[in-house]
Amino acid sequence: VEIGDPERTYTVEPLEDPVPREPSQAPKEAPESEPAEPEKVEAE
């Protein structure tokens, strides 16, 4: 695009990302497994 002669230079750091990025694939948390019941064994 023909936009003419330069006039000044500056920096822009957006607070919000202008790019609608792919939602990050958060790792699924492993379900906490129930503690195993103690095995009943015959007393000797």
């Binding site: 936009i3 003419g4 330069p6 000044r8 230079t9 920096t11 822009v12 792919e22």
Partner: protein
């Protein structure tokens, strides 16, 4: 650490080609053969080459970051839609062969950030991403087997609004007029 001058992206106007690239339907710059990646910013590089002294028969790329005031590099955006519309309708892209089939042409708003060189009628930036894409509903592209309505769906992968505008892409004034009506209706 230097604080930025602004914390909002500059919103400008620009034109794109719509091409069928290997990975899908994409926006491409009109003058250079840059494909704009979906969901990722486009980063500017300087395409200019300079003589490689003392071997002046060889040329090498410039090694400066884009953009700078002394060069014409950077991702261009126009202040007004009518500046950008002239690039929708012209045939500049024919100067350099396209690597991919041309499907259509688009106009839209673009977010610009990073280092910006402000010019009389627009900006040159180091980073850019489409903010809103408009496709003219009418106008023949010889190679295009795809209807504009199908392209709207295909370009949805950019994650920004994509809309048809009721005009012919060969008529720059009609494109600007349709954009004005769309803005007034919003």
């Amino acid at each position: 650490v230097k604080a930025p001058d602004y914390v909002e992206p500059i919103i400008a106007w620009r034109a794109w080609l719509v091409v069928a690239e290997e990975e899908g339907i994409r926006l491409s710059s009109v003058v250079y053969r840059n494909v704009w990646p979906p969901r990722c910013e486009l980063e500017a590089t300087c395409h200019r080459t300079v003589f490689a002294f003392p071997r002046i028969w060889q040329k090498k790329p410039t090694d400066h970051p884009a953009p700078t005031e002394r060069c014409r590099c950077g991702i261009h955006g126009a202040r007004d839609a009518d500046h950008a519309a002239s690039y929708v309708t012209n045939e500049l892209w024919q100067d350099e062969p396209l690597h991919w089939p041309l499907l259509h042409r688009a106009i839209g708003r673009v977010s610009l950030w990073g280092t910006l060189v402000e010019c009389a009628d627009g900006w040159r930036a180091s980073y850019a991403y489409p903010q809103r894409i408009y496709l003219p509903e009418h106008g023949e592209i010889d190679e295009a087997p795809v209807e504009p309505a199908q392209l709207v769906a295909a370009l949805a992968g950019y994650g920004v609004p994509v809309e048809l505008i009721d005009c012919d892409l060969t008529d720059g004034d009609a494109v600007v007029s349709a954009l004005g009506m769309r803005a007034a209706a919003r």
